[in-house]
């Protein structure tokens, strides 16, 4: 249980770093150039880690099913939806909804046990817990103070402002 929590938090911290790095790349290139690079890097890194830990076993894909090959498409779907949502809603609102939808889908998945994952029976505690977390996300993102992305140029120091306008 504790190990699971720690691993999930490591993943979250790295997602945060990755988002910042990817944003930097995106500012100089474009969203498809960035996506291609990011997935390519992820592929190489996963392959190398796999070779280190599993050796030649990496290439014996037992019980491979056809749809496994296509699951990578989901990642591309994420990019398309994120780019559109951010364009239409602005980053703050888009991200608030994205995070909420992530949690909602997670609860749904646990309760229904789709794709043969172990079912975690639905309890009211879980629903209340998720709603409190969503409340936290909304307060965090929409509560003001953290003047994210909307008008970075306005709040930036003159030198930074110049850099932002150049982008």
């Amino acid at each position: 249980m504790v190990i699971g929590l720690i691993l999930a938090m490591i993943a979250g911290a790295l997602v945060s770093l990755q988002n910042i790095f990817n944003t930097k790349v995106n500012q100089h290139t474009g969203s498809w150039s960035t996506t291609t690079l990011v997935l390519g890097m992820g592929f190489i890194a996963s392959l190398v880690m796999g070779l280190i830990f599993e050796g030649a076993d990496m290439f014996t894909l037992r019980h491979m099913e056809l749809w496994y090959w296509f699951s990578g498409i989901i990642g591309v779907g994420v990019v398309i939806c994120l780019v559109q949502a951010t364009k239409l809603l602005g980053a703050t609102y888009a991200i608030s909804i994205v995070l909420t939808a992530q949690l909602g889908t997670a609860l749904l998945w646990d309760s229904l046990g789709w794709l043969g994952l172990e079912k975690v029976p639905f309890t009211w505690n879980q629903l209340i817990g998720v709603l409190v977390i969503v409340g936290g996300i909304l307060v965090f993102k929409l509560g003001g103070g953290n003047g994210t992305d909307e008008e970075p140029a306005k709040n930036a120091k003159p030198k930074q402002r110049k850099a932002l306008q150049a982008k």
Binding site: L7, Q18, L39, M41, D110
Partner: protein, 141 residues
């Protein structure tokens, strides 16, 4: 309205990605699952890039080299997320993941690390993180 639908789909797909990886890992192993899904995603993105031709290739040279390797984190992200989902379920995994993600972003923004524009953190951000942690505790009651 379209924006909201796109945002909901994006969030659902992010979770679905984790779940699909967890499922595929059961059969072929976690590193294998990470490699296969990143590979097919990469190929598809490359094809789209060839058609969309967005952005500038020279742009890559302007980026600080370190930032080009952000994608490599995916190997550890997928491994950790999959192992977490298999151990503690999807809801708890995603909750803990999001708290760590928002918290680190919050620290980086308030310190201005990696050259991000420094942002003042006020009460709402602290209350928000507090609520999220309270929510996880309720999940486990």
């Amino acid at each position: 309205m379209r924006g909201i639908i796109f945002a909901i789909l994006a969030g659902a797909c992010i979770t679905l990605q984790g779940v699909a990886n967890a499922r595929i890992s059961q059969d072929i192993g976690t590193w294998q699952a990470a490699t296969v899904t990143q590979f097919t995603g990469f190929i598809l993105a490359l094809v789209i890039l060839l058609f969309a031709r967005d952005g500038r290739k020279q742009g890559f040279k302007e980026v600080k080299p370190l930032y080009l390797f952000g994608g490599a984190f995916a190997a550890i992200i997928i491994f950790s997320e999959v192992t977490a989902i298999q151990n503690i379920g999807v809801t708890l995994s995603i909750s803990a993941l999001l708290i760590a993600q928002l918290f680190l972003t919050f620290v980086i923004d308030s310190r201005g690390w990696f050259g991000v524009i420094k942002q003042k953190m006020r009460l709402p951000q602290f209350i928000g993180i507090g609520l999220m942690i309270a929510g996880v505790i309720i999940l486990k009651l």
